[in-house]
């Protein structure tokens, strides 16, 4: 069966967008906490893992309905995120960036270890959300699960924009990110905003984990791998700029898919990394962040 160039291109685009959607979602999580605390949360990948594993338990073992299990898993990981902030980040007396980052590394190990004890060492799978055949678009095909991934990313982005632009809490969080001292003077409880950023970041991580698990299966040790590419997307998009992260995540995924399809799959990660390095040489602040803006953080 021979197919045309356009069909192939479309197929690679589908593949790239699906890969990129996950990077984007992990990157948003990184940014959220970066904006409120100035640190990179090394436990971000673990949120993804916990979300995925919880979803597997709820749907495959307890046979709950998808929607209910989805909400439960997100709620569970959100609580984990809040506890993480309250128990490990909040009590730190003199929170320097380095100290907090090391704390997140410790927490990520703790999560990983607990997940291993609870879910065991093997990989867990769950069924695709819908049991429909692949859809055809101009000869190229896309799995329904990939549509779920892309659709949910879109919902997350829309919800994100609405939250930060239209709600008071969202605006308070932005104010804290731009200038924490000034925000506090204006009467915003900045510590609560930090907690909220952990909660939201954990929730988005969980969503990413839930939608990706039917495709890749989940095991306790996967966090670092998932976190890494998402971190790359966050950096290319301009650390702290979440819409930049979404664009960069999708771009990264598409570059990988195109280089895998047209050049060689052996080098697809290498090519994506080269492009990343190239971007950082030309624009050290990332694609969508100018170096001046790096100081002036914006969600």
């Amino acid at each position: 069966m021979e197919t045309g160039l356009i069909t192939d291109l479309l197929q690679f685009l589908f593949m790239g967008i699906q890969r990129g959607a996950i990077y984007a979602m992990v990157a948003i999580g990184f940014n959220m906490i970066y904006n409120s605390t100035g640190i990179i949360n090394f436990a971000q990948g673990e949120f993804v893992v916990l979300g995925g594993l919880m979803m597997v338990s709820l749907t495959m073992s307890l046979k709950l309905s998808l929607v209910f299990a989805f909400l439960m898993s997100v709620a569970f990981v959100t609580v984990v995120g809040i506890l993480m902030e309250r128990l490990t980040i909040n009590p730190v007396r003199r929170p320097t960036v380095l100290r907090l980052i090391i704390i997140t590394i410790a927490v990520s190990m703790l999560f990983k270890g607990s997940a291993m004890c609870f879910w065991g060492k093997g990989s867990h799978y769950m069924h695709h959300f819908t049991d429909a055949p692949p859809l055809e678009v101009m000869g190229a095909t896309i799995l329904p699960q990939s549509l779920w991934v892309i659709g949910i990313l879109a919902l997350v982005v829309i919800g994100y924009v609405m939250f930060f632009n239209w709600t008071m809490t969202g605006k308070c969080m932005r104010a804290c990110a731009i200038n924490r001292d000034a925000a506090r003077l204006a009467g915003i409880n900045d510590r609560r905003m930090v907690m909220l950023s952990f909660a939201l970041s954990a929730a988005i991580g969980a969503v990413a984990g839930i939608i990706i698990t039917p495709i890749i299966q989940m095991d306790y040790a996967r966090g670092a791998l998932l976190g890494l590419k998402g971190f790359g997307a966050a950096v290319i998009g301009g650390l702290g700029n979440s819409m930049g992260a979404v664009a960069a995540g999708l771009l990264l995924g598409i570059i990988e898919a195109l280089s895998g399809g047209f050049i060689s799959s052996h080098y697809m990660d290498a090519i994506a990394l080269l492009v990343m390095l190239g971007v950082l040489f030309v624009r050290p602040g990332g694609l969508f962040g100018s170096s001046e803006e790096v100081r002036l953080k914006e969600f």
């Binding site: 093997g122 040790a221 799959s265």
Partner: protein
Amino acid sequence: MFIVSFASILHAGEKEPYHIGCAFAITGKAAWLGEPERNTAVMIAEQINKAGGINGHELVLHIEDTQGSNTRAVNAIKKLIKKDNVCAVIGPSRSGTTLASIPVVQQAKVPMLSCAAAASITNPPEKREWVFKMGQNDSDAARRIYEHMQENGIEKVGVITGTTGFGDAGRTQLKNLKDEYGIEIVADETYAPGDTDMTAQLISIRKSGAQAVINWSIVPAQSIVPQNMDQLKMDIPLYQSHGFANIKYAESAGESAEGSIFPAGRIMAAKTVPADHPQKEVLISYKNAYESSYDDQVTTFGGHAYDAMHIIAKALEKVGDNPAKIKETIENMEFVGISGVFEFSENDHCGLDKTAFEMMTVKDGRFVVLDR
């Protein structure tokens, strides 16, 4: 680090116990290998001691966790030999850790029965006098796949492998053996363990005019390949490696994995092995014992520990716990085990050939032996 002793079970405690060392990757990245191995070893020691030990000697296991790391494996084996005075070592679980540990046992002159698979573990034989291997050779899996292709008139294949040590070794074997079987590799693609979609690679394979796909990997991502092939409506046969022999991978791939063909140890389809096969009895008894003792399914890896334990027990029964005599006995042993029918010799410390693999397929979500 713990010692499993069954003195309380055993009352014939008059004679000196026999000490066996185990070094498995019980935690860490290769925990899925080490855990069933540990469980199996403990289970068999219990069985032997309950039955009165070996000629009245109690069997004491010293179990160390290598965490899949080379340094820890070397230290663990040094400790087992020097401090615990074991007469033989079972493990390590991974090829890398085994290769790192070889100098230790070569120097200490204590037999080591590795649960890993790389051919270099027992080659060259003159530098591996004290090392035995329970795992089937990668090259034999490749041979079985190529043989099956030959029988079905397939000459051009597209290869897609995972970028892990396992996938890489398979890719090398497939390339090395292709000429011997008159197979042409028309496409050679890879994917990383974290990849979520392999359509780009599969399109390249489709374009190359391949008559079949070989998917060689041990990571869960391999389950995506059959799904993507379905998605792209590729109807050429899919062959997979023995790394696919994990029922979860088949369940995850669902419908799309049905009918894919792969070589695997017979334990993966113990029930469908013909009743007159020499391994049938051992397979069923191990499967039943393991699955009733632990809330887990049998794996090939646990099978390696089963074989190692029984081979050492047989040697102990015959010549006692002198390491040199144990080695000599194993070299002249024939043993019907889980991984195959072992026929050791001085120059063959693996003892298995390509018949250790059976061609299997997925039918109604289960692994079954492929009908010829």
